[in-house]
Symmetry: C2
Amino acid sequence: MNEENQLLTRCLYFTASRFARNITKLAEETFDADDLAPSYLYLIMTVRFHPDITQKELCRKLSIAPSTSTRFIDKLEKRKLVTRTPGGKETFIALTDEGEKVYQHFRQSLEVLFERYSELLGREFSRDLSKMLHEASNKLEQNH
Amino acid sequence: MNEENQLLTRCLYFTASRFARNITKLAEETFDADDLAPSYLYLIMTVRFHPDITQKELCRKLSIAPSTSTRFIDKLEKRKLVTRTPGGKETFIALTDEGEKVYQHFRQSLEVLFERYSELLGREFSRDLSKMLHEASNKLEQNH
DNA sequence: ACCCTTCATTTGCATATACAAATATAAATT
DNA sequence: AATTTATATTTGTATATGCAAATGAAGGGT
């Protein structure tokens, strides 16, 4: 393997960004949910498991910047999928009934997505890769 | 582990996007190159190893959309780091001397980046993860 | 030599995402 | 109680990135 391929294969920044683009495309194709990008669905899912979660906590769980959460919630609120309840300096987020429906639909698409990439990448490989990415993020975040 | 954590740990879309955000942040901090985002540096690197490469080929190697390559090259051309040579319907891209300098600097920062994440994640773990991401992208791209 | 098709690049538009500054509210200190 | 400090959210602005439509250039068939 020549130097160039070495660098392109070895650099985690590059391989991770490239893979993220590829899997995002697959996820978008699979979800096809109401014009909502996959990341919105993860926010919905997190709210569903933690009713009245604060934005800060959402940011932490999803590893997104606060401003990003504001924008996401703006959009979801406008579509009446979540509600904002201001409480002091915090804001609590909860799902509407419509949001719950979207979640249920998403939950099913998620299985389809799992199937699709497991078929392409192998079931065990996918599980390992996902686990490694999860751990790696945790470690990077620990060190700010 | 509860259902929510299962889903957040198991879904490759989510773990990959999250990790990409984290490692991008680390890369940006490390490179600190002239306002150029890391992805530009990978384009520069690829051109450096393939003088007079066409844009299409660049897109393929970097897994970016054609429009993205146009925009990247616009910026790099404006900064006199690469040149565009139109040849029929294709366009050939090459590095300028200044571009070569930026590459050399980048090449060194890359080692620093490798060091930084290897320290946090483990050397072998990083190598494996990167290799897996690389292979996984190849497989996803094979199936359009 | 002219049309039709094919393919590479560009342009218009949209969106996810971030950082830094601004705002709003609560908590702490005097 | 008033002022300062700390913290959560929002807003302004910027950028990477993509898709779909437009453009431009080549080559094949008539």
